[in-house]
Each structure stands twice: as structure tokens, then as C-alpha cells.
Symmetry: D3
Subunit: 275 residues, 6 copies
């Protein structure tokens, strides 16, 4: 991750932070604090800290709260002390990480809270910002969610287009069983109850119920609960998630957690000793 953070910093700095280099002396120091203006769940402390350390290993950064903590407005989440140049040059890139990851954790927290007590677990998807999936999936955990497979290598998920290519659910599951490592379960996406029955008959371990209505979900649970793992997806949002979870499915997955979370507005404020 350090290499990517270094590139991210370089993306912003280019040939040099011309404003800071031209007006701030190399040895001037300052303290700074970061806080939000709304309640949020903090995430992204690691990249936030690393960005500054890459610029100047002597910067001291204090994170009073662990990632995953709920933070009130105007409460300081990060404190920094060090050379003004590094603080100013790293500010935007570091905040770009923290504001987005905290946005994901905050949205996840709201949805995870909404299904408390149902026994259902909230999952993310692969709809993440390219190159930052690891951080975004961690933010989902900070918000109380759970991770689906990381990528294409650590889980078998047979989708509608796979089924179209093989000709049937049965053939798809058979080939996966035959060719994929025995360390992986076989999950398959279905669109109705008939397909669910076929998936179970074919020996699938888990079934993704895509865009099922609440009634269909309930029927699926009656048929399949505890025989295969049931995951509901499609149309999942803060308004709908509780009812879906209450049908008895094991998991509900939601792409918006990572692709459409609103960034948290974070402010960095300096107390400078004049140079």
C-alpha cells in the first residue's frame, strides 16, 4: 500500500508544491488538528498518517480514537505537529483518504445499525474505487459491515452471464466443482425460486438471490435456510434493508456502501509559530 500512497502523493505534488516552497521557510513548525462538522464514523487513520510520514518521518501524528469509533462534530480526530511545509503539502491528499473512507464507514454503520437483531449480516461488494479496495473494505468493517470475497480469486460466484454461457445452473456448478480448488465454496446467482431449487439440487453451497421481492425472499428462506447460505442483493438501501434482513436471509449485500457514500467534510486547522 505504501507504494500506492507514495504515487498518490506524487500525483498531487508533481514537480513541487510551489506555493508552500516559495512562501514557507524550511524550518518553520506548527501544530494542527482535524475535525468534522457532522457526526461520523472515523476510518482511514492509516493512510492519513502514512501520507505525512512519507513526506517527513519526523511529523508526530496522534489519533485519539481507533478507526470505527463514532465521532461527534468538532471533536478532534487527528492531531499533528511538525514542519509547516510537510503539513501543508500533505493536507489535501491525506484528507482525500480520510474523508472518503470515513464516508464509507459512516454509511455502513447506519445500515448495519438498521439490521441489528435480525441475525442477518451486511456485506460489501467489488464496486470499489480501483486500487483502494483493501482500504475501502477495511472501512466497511470499521462501520460494522462484513466483507464479501476480496476479488475474483478468493470466491466462486457464478452470475447470470456465466449461466448463459454454460447453458444451465447445473452445468455451471458441475464445472466449478470439477475444476476449481476444493478450498472454495460455490455460490451462484439466481433470479427466482425455480432457479434456487435448481441451484440446491446442483450442490451449490451458497445462493445469491438477486432482486427478489420480500415475498420471494421469505419463500427462499423457507425452502433453503440452513441448507445453503442465502445472500440477498439488489435495491438495498437505508429504507429497505431492515425488511430484507427480517426475511431471514443470512446476508444482505450493498454496492452503494463503497460506490456512492458521501465524503465526510473534514477540516484541518493549524496553529502556526510565525517564521
Amino acid at each position: 500500500m505504501t507504494d500506492l500512497l507514495r504515487l498518490a502523493l506524487l500525483e498531487d505534488i508533481g514537480s513541487g508544491d510551489v506555493t508552500t516552497l516559495s512562501i514557507i521557510p524550511a524550518d518553520q513548525r506548527a501544530s494542527a488538528v482535524v475535525f468534522g462538522r457532522e457526526p461520523f464514523v472515523v476510518s482511514g487513520s492509516k493512510p492519513f498518517r502514512k501520507i505525512f510520514e512519507l513526506l517527513d518521518p519526523e511529523i508526530r501524528i496522534d489519533c485519539p480514537f481507533p478507526d470505527g469509533e463514532r465521532i461527534e462534530p468538532n471533536v478532534v480526530v487527528f492531531r499533528l505537529e511538525g514542519r509547516v511545509r510537510a503539513l501543508l503539502t500533505g493536507e489535501r491528499t491525506a484528507l482525500n483518504f480520510a474523508q472518503r473512507l470515513s464516508g464509507i464507514a459512516t454509511l455502513t454503520r447506519k445500515m448495519a445499525d438498521a439490521i441489528i437483531g435480525t441475525g442477518c449480516r451486511l456485506l460489501d461488494t467489488r464496486k470499489t474505487s480501483p486500487l483502494w479496495r483493501s482500504l475501502e473494505k477495511e472501512a466497511v468493517r470499521h462501520g460494522g459491515g462484513r466483507n464479501h470475497r476480496f476479488g475474483l480469486a478468493d470466491g466462486i460466484l457464478i452470475k447470470d452471464n456465466h449461466i448463459a454461457a454454460t447453458g444451465s445452473i447445473r452445468e455451471s456448478v458441475r464445472r466449478a466443482r470439477e475444476n476449481a480448488p476444493h478450498t472454495l465454496r460455490v455460490e451462484i446467482e439466481v433470479e427466482n425460486i425455480d432457479q434456487l431449487n435448481e441451484a440446491m439440487a446442483s450442490g451449490a453451497d451458497a445462493v445469491l438471490l438477486d432482486n427478489f421481492t420480500l415475498d420471494m425472499l421469505k419463500e427462499a428462506v423457507e425452502i433453503a435456510k440452513d441448507r445453503v447460505i442465502l445472500e440477498a442483493s439488489g435495491g438495498v438501501n437505508l429504507q429497505t434493508v431492515r425488511a430484507i434482513a427480517e426475511t431471514g436471509v443470512d446476508f444482505v449485500s450493498c454496492g452503494a456502501l463503497t460506490h456512492s457514500a458521501r465524503a465526510i467534510d473534514l477540516t484541518m486547522e493549524f496553529s502556526v509559530t510565525q517564521g
Copy 2:
């Protein structure tokens, strides 16, 4: 950019797309189409296309509309033809780019349309997804916006914390003029009319009016229009942008264009020849 796209693909694929490799024959072919379910402005054709080309140079991809075009629901924006394996393996990563960049272009288009006729121009900021700034700033242009500086190297923007460090607006501008290349203008952030006057007296070329009320903006325009470039920022959204633009400022800048645009829901649908 190709190197980063390759890494993005690798992030998803890891040691291999185990589902596709285990159930799809190497030589099976298919066609596919991509469309949205809501009206949107398309962006991201380049990374979308490149992702598939990295997987299989023989895939054919057709983009009937140029980036920046307004697209109706269910209208095909991308057509693909080639090996099923590459189509399935690249699908998610390619869509992750297209859905986010189209989201940015769509939001920008709405805001740019809102200020048509005012003479004011809409600007983005540096609040972008790390490593994808170039694509996101391009998406802003596709939506009818204009780019602020790319990063820290190609523009001088003296912010409140810089001023705190130097002690005054005057000293900040003086140092920038003295030390920075003569090819760059000097822009400075101010918080009230007094600071605006000091900035102008110091010889700044442009002034960022941060969180000014509409009345303050109007006063600033009366004082400074055509003598320095005026940019308004803070609290800019679809509800407020027109009134801000109508005060007569030259530019209005908005971080949400890139940090909080909602992703466009894009679907890829295959027509497969069974293998």
C-alpha cells in the same frame, strides 16, 4: 495511466478469476452491451476500453457516443464482442470506472447547466480519488465544467494556513512573487472584504472568496471585478450555485463534483453463443 489500469485489473483478478476459468472454455465468444437505467452523461470510455484491451487485445469495443454526451435510460453506450472469459473477467473493473466517471460528469452537467447565461464558470477542486485525478478532471470537462489547477505544482494558491504562517496576506504574496516561477499567477484565499482589499493592494492576480455570503460576494464583485480574478467557494450545491454565479464572480468551485458524486448504475448484458 495504462500502468495504473493494469494494477487496478490485477487488484480484482489476483491469482486468477477462478469462477470464469473453471466454467468457461477458453474459446467461447459472446457479444455484450452496457446501458444505464437513468439519464446520465457518459464519461470513462477510455479506461473502460483499455481494461478489456489489457485482458485481450482482440476484443472489439464500440462506443457509439463520445464522452460528454447525454444518454437516455436503456440506450446502449458500449458494445463489446470477444472471448467470454475476458468479458467476464474485466466487467467489474471496467464498470467501476465508467459508473464513477459518468457520475461525476452527470453531476457536473447539472451544475454547469444551472449557471448557464451568468458568464460564471464552474471549477473542480483537488478533492479527487487518489491516483485517478486525471480521469476525474476529464469527467468534469465532459460534464461542462472547467479545471482548476491540476495539483500543487501548476498554480499558486495561498490559503488561510499559509497566511497564518507568514503573518500577513501582504508578506505571503510578496514571497510568492519573489520565489515562484514567473509563469504562475498568484491566487490567495480571503475570508472577508478587508482581506480582499489587502490582497489586491499586495498585487495578487486572483482571489478565492471562501464562504462569502451572497451580499459579500456582490460587494467583492463591485470592488474587484476585472481587476483581479474572483473565485467563490464554500457551500456550493445545486440549490445555491445559480445565485452565487449571478453575483458576477468569474468562477465558482465545488469539491462535491468529484468527492461525492453518486455512481451511475450501469448494467452489462451478454448474448452468449453456448460453448
Copy 3:
């Protein structure tokens, strides 16, 4: 993989192939053939070909047999035609890949043949040459073997040291179920029948029977067959593999396939047009 092959070539070439550059004219051309001096199963055509293409995209390379084919002594497996310089400079690096990967495929073929008809499948391990796991696991498939998990991300395998750390098989399986993605099965290593029973009671999906005697393996099969997946490992070689397979276990895994296969002696012979 191309990047690694490029580095491998650079490792050999360094600042230049001083022999070839000093005595061979740039435009001299030749044909060449590659053959072995013993029967073997061919593997490594892809890196063999790619090494030469990296040196000179105009070299023509013909591979009359697909990877996985049994080849008789002195039968040509690769034919090449192109500039002498590239042929000579790439020879050693290309052969280093082909001789090692063919060695793995050949050894795997012998062991896979040894268990034909038992219903048991032969697996590789993670004991591979660093950075070439993907090629070596492919060579195992060319030899008729099957791949265990690729690495640490795409399979849960709880080993003795994991168990020591958690305190029990039960607790290990419980934590894995609780925290790992639902797309992965849980496999656990056991050293005796009691542990096998505990593993099954804990809900493991697969069990690695480590260094079990043939009698213990038979007992394990009686107890657990078709209820959990059974994998035998330890002391597996050409002499022992058939008896192990005949106990009825589902899989037998063998590290020597990749860590101790003897390289196949391959020769490249040129027919040069004098320059």
C-alpha cells in the same frame, strides 16, 4: 508475468551479451530447434516464446505440441527462426524456464499416472519457486495434477501452529467461520483420528490428514468419507502414492512436485546462414 520475464532476461543480459554483440552481425539469421534427450512432458511454451519475443518481436516460434503432451527423445518441441543475436541471447533464459517446468510436468505425470483408477486426485502445494508459482502450478496441471489453493488468500487451511495459538481445533474453526468470507471453505490439518473427529464436530469442510499411516488413512476414510473432504499429505512419492490413494482419500498432496523435480535436459541447435 511479462514484467517478471523481462526482469529474468535482464538478469542474464545485464549491460549486454558481450559475446554475441562482439562476434555476430546484427542482421545474420538462423533457424534453431529444441529437443530433449529423454522422454518428458512438455511445459513452459508460453515463457519460452515470450522471452524471445521480448528480445525481438520478429522471431518466429513454432510449438508443434501443446503443453502437457508426452514427448519422445530427440523429437523437436520448439522451432525458431530469426536473428542470430536474439536466438543466442535468449537461449539460456528461455531454456531455464522450459527445462524446469517440463521437469515439474514430467514428475507430476508419473505420479498422476500412478493413481489412475483410484478416484483420488493429485494436488500440488505452495512449495514453489518464488515468483513463478503461477507457471509451476500450470505445469502441474499439464502433468495431470490439480491445484490446491494458489496462496494465502484463496483458501482457509488451519495448521498445527494455528491450532496451538487458538488452543483448540474447535476454537480455530469457530473463529474462521465467524471472520472469514463465506465464500471460502474451512480446511484444517489433523495428526490423528481424535483430531479428525474433533474437526468434524467443529464443522470443518475439509481435513488435511498429515503423516497418517495407511491404516490411519483407512480409518479416517471410514469415519469421514463424503461428510468432509479428505486430503492426505506427508511422505508422498512415486513408491507410496498409489497405496495412499487406494485408501479412499479424496486428494493426495505432494510438495516435491514443485520443489524437487529434476530439470529436463533440453538442447537448442542452430542451423546458421553464415554472415
Copy 4:
């Protein structure tokens, strides 16, 4: 080398060691020891150590014996202390290096011992594992062997195919003298006594006697000893090496040292403090 080791580690870890992360607490610590089950010559301490340091700079690793030392069965060669997660995650990759490099050092030691007292020196070749030549050539030295040229840049070795291209031994040597840096000797491969005579007449500094019988080697030594450097190769193994060395050649080179050494079976055993 550190960059390649990092990649090797990443190859195994991928998106994360899901077993360890899901069942081992972040702060649990353990000690561990590594030992072999057969006598061997140790090599690979450096990559072994580095792999763990890359994972966790706080791991302490003690290597009681220097590389090159002969180790008895069940004697501890490496001791480790640190976080269980890093110990488990790094185990396989670190052992993959140590087991292969110790295998090379052990085989080399046997062959070097076999020619003690003859005055002949044992050489390796360029038949190494791609990207690990530097480590493998070091393992050869640990086993008492000596290194031939590292690669194509630091030695002139004119082979049969080079000669075919230039038309003669004489012309090959002439061109090398004319065009290659004066800092390099000229070595040439010959297949019989006539070619040896021609090589000497052409002014070669060293001659590689390829697949010579013992009688031919003796004749070559009579003709050429102390006038050119003599290196024997082809058919060199533990059975034949002493007789070859006793003919009086200066060097005997053997590709099997690096391409076909059997890996040493190394075991890592933990003493864990339960978490």
C-alpha cells in the same frame, strides 16, 4: 533483492492471509525454531530473515550458524520471536528460499568434497532459477563451489552456435578480441582436440572442453595446461566428478548444482503463548 522478496511475499499473500487474519489476534506472540531432518549445508539466511522483516520489522531472528556451515538433523538453524501473525504468514515463503538454497549448498558441498586435493575447482553455470541467480550463486559458494561468469555481460564464452555463425573458431576469437572490452578474457567451447589446438592458435585465453572423455581430457591437459585455462563440462555428477578433476583440468562446471538440487526438508515449529 528486497523488491523481489517483497514481490515473492505478495505472490503468496495476495489480498491477505485469510486463515491467520481470521483466527489469530493481532497482538499474540510466539517463538519458533527451524530445523532439518537430514544433514545439510545451510544457505539462504539472508532472504529467510528479510521475508519476516518485511512483514514485521520487530520480529527477532537469530541464525546461530553462518551460511555454509554443515548442520546435523534436528539442530536448530533459525530461531524466531515475534507476532504470531507475521510468523505464520511469512513461514512458507521464507522456507521456500531456505530449503532450495540449502539444497544447492548441500549438493555443491558433496561435489566439492569429492574433488578435494585434485587442484581442480568446481564451477556453477547460468542454469539457475530466473530472478534468483544471485542467491543461488551465493549458495554455490556456501557449498564450497566457485562461480563462473554471472551472466552474459561479464565474460566472453563462445559456444558451438556462435562458431557456426562466424564460420570458424579463428574468426570468432578474432572478432571478440577486436570488439569486446579488453577487460574480458576470451573463452571458447570446443568438442575435440583439433578444435582445442585451433582455439589455442587463435589466442583464446580459456577453453571449455565439452563432453570430452577422460582420455580426451588427459590429452587436452598435456597439450594445453598452463598455456590456457581448461574447463571441463558435460556428464558431471557425484559419480564422475573426481575422475574428471584428476585429469588435471583447472575447472569442472556442473549445471545440476542449481537446476536439479533436491530441496532440504525444513520444519518450522512454534511455541505459542495462547491468545
Copy 5:
């Protein structure tokens, strides 16, 4: 920069410093000093130091003078203490940086001194050694020069060929104003007084007077001084620079500072403790 320095070191070392490794024991230590044989302005301390630190973090390096200081012949500019191997292996690469950068600083100092009191400032250009622009532009500052834009991204400079493409100075300036970020000034190259007038009428912020005679420069200053920034270029050397500066232009730019400065002859001398 560290990555590039590492590559530079690798370029020289290749597979190993065979001289040093074969004759110097690993633990032998020495002191060394570096000095010039002519007066010069020192630059390059940072890469000089870093090269050795990359080889051996324990080497101690003392730079008694800051970069930019004038150094007399035979005065020690760098002192080193550490392992002989690292000192010998790093010597050439480290000196290659210091001798070139000091050469640039020395030439720049002479030209900057030549225009003292004129109010004109000396600028560098983009005619730098590829990949080392940042260091070379810093050397120009060490010599008392000032930097023009770093590269193509942080300044608009419309040249004769741009003008040919757009058809006119007016159109060129218009397009730049319309499309480029407002943070950049617009500078344009002109070849005569008429073009200067057109440039000013078009609203250019700065004008590059290319190959103007002294009389033309004086006329340009009369017309344009304090209305636009004036930069003179072409035929600038130690003989001509003062007269050009005295015409009253704001800047004079000179490519030879970086493309043709003569390297300073630096010597490293060791005091070794015999090993």
C-alpha cells in the same frame, strides 16, 4: 528521487563490484575525503550522500559547506567514514552527480555574478539531463540563478511553432486564456517588435524575446517594461550576458547552464586501515 538514485547505482554495479568484492574484506574500514583541483561552487551533496547511504546506512558523511558555497582548490568538501567496500563501490556514481551538479552551479554563479546590479534575473531552461531536472534546477539555484517553469505543466509558453499552428499570436493567446487553468500566466515567444506589439495587444502576461539584438531589446523595454514581463533568450553567454541584462529586460534565460556546463574534477582520497 531515491528510486532513481538506486537505479543509477545499479547501473554501475550490475551483478556486483567484482574488483572490490574479490579483494576487500567485508569488515575493513576507511576514511576518505573529496576535494576539487580548481575553485568551484558546490552542489549535489544530497545525491552524493544518498548514494552511499543506499549502499550502507552506517556510512558517516560530513559536508562542511552548504550547497551553493564557493570552494577553494584542495579544500575538503565531503568527508566519509565507513566500510571500504561501500566507499569504493559508491565512489564513481556519487562523484558523477557531484561533479556535474557542481559544474552547473559554478557556471551559473559566473553568469549570475556578471549581471549583478542590473536588476535582471538569470533563468535556466528545460534543456536538462533527462531524469535529473530537479537536481539540475536546484544546482542553478545554488549558483544564484532562478528557475523558469519546471516542465510543460506549470507554465504556458507559446512558441513559434504553436503560433504557426494556430495562425496568429492573437489566436494563440485567446485559446490559451479560454482553455488553460486561470492559475497560469500566458507567455509567448516573439521574434521582432511587431510581434511584441501584437502579443501585448492580445493580452499576454509575459513575452520571450528570442534572438533580439541589443537595440531591439532596448526598444522592447521602452515599449513594454512594467506592462508585460520581458525575458530575453538566444546567444546568451558569459561575454554577452551583461549587455543583455543592462537593456532592462526582467529575465535572461540560458540553456548552456544545464546542457553544456563542464564537470568539476573532483577527487576522492582514502586513508585506509589495512585489513
Copy 6:
């Protein structure tokens, strides 16, 4: 090399060629020619061509003269045709290579011509621009010079500081013979006739006569000619080189060829079709 050229281009372009992008349409095309204003020996066609191809694979580049040819003033050495954007964006970086490499070839040509008929050969050194040694050594060959070792791996050169560390010339040569690969000659630097005698007695293959007077060189030739290779260095320039060569030494080496050659002034001129 392509990777480094790509980085060199990126160094100049940064986030984008803002001048060209803002004023030149994407589809406008032009022809261009490159010529010098003084006689020179051309070198650098390969990087010149590659820089443009990296920007736009469709650019056509014609090099009427091979590298190494003497070119008259105002004679076209490169012709280009393609998109104006790529031509303008690549111009400076491409010329930076061609002007420096042609400068090296031109200076080398002059010095090589100065020693024609003496039988002595002109050598370069390792005093090259970091990361571009391969190109600069090729430019030396284009100018009629010959290359010394490429770097520290492909030649043994024992210098004064090595001797100080081992204690004597004899011991230095002994260790090198004992430990270095037999494919390398042993060259040693000496400062007077006594040391030359010691070097020969120790069995050195080549001797570097450092800063010898002409009389000392003649004495060295009398003593050692045809018994060891003799290389003269120190104080070599256009005025001195012939007399040094006429002493009868085999080689004369000169660092200034690569560290202080003046760049050739090359001009690129466009013929544009207006867009």
C-alpha cells in the same frame, strides 16, 4: 531503456502539456525537420525516435543518416510527420537526448581522428550521466571510440585505493585471481615505473598508467609492450592525445568524452497545416 525514456518524458510533461493542449486541436498534423547549425557527428536517433513513438505510435520519423555519420550545418538529420500535439510535446525531451549524445559523438570523433595511424585506441570511462551510460557509451562508439568496461561487474580494475587497502599490488592481484571469475582479466592502476614492474611480476593482464609523463609512458612501453596491455589516462585532451598515443600505449582513456562534451545546438522546425 523504454521505461527510462517513458519516465524522462513524464518528467517534462507532468500532469500535461498545458500550452499545447489548450491551443492545438487534437487532429491537426504537421511535418517537421531537425538540423544543426554547426558540423557534428549524429548520435541518439534511437531515443529521439522512441520518445515520439511513446507519445504517438503513428508519428513517422525518418533518419536519413545512420548514427556515427558526420553531418554538415543545416542538413536535415531527422524528418517527422504526425499530429502537432505529439510533435510539440515531445520536442524538448527528444532534442535533449540528441543534442547531448551528438555532442559526445562529435568530441569523440575529434579525438579519435587525432590519433589515427598510431595504433592506439581511444577509450571512454565510467564518468557518464547516471542512467544513460548505455546510450553515452554507444555515442562514443558512434564517434569512433571504443568502450572500456561497462561498469563494476564486467572488468577488474584495481585502483590506488584498493591497493592501499590490501597493502600491496602483489596482494591485490593475488586476491583478484583467487576470488574473481576466471572470465575476467585483471587490470591494475600504477603511478610509476616501479609499480608497473611490480604489477607485471604479480601477473596482472593489463596496467592503467595514471598521469604518466610522456617520458614515463615511453619507458613503460619499452618495458611492457606486448607482455601486458597498457592504458594511459590523465590529462588527456585534444591537445595532448596524439603525443600520448604515439608513445605506443595500447589504449588512451578520457573521461571528458562523456562528462564534459558540449551539447550540439539542434533546431526543430515545423511546417504546419493550419487547424
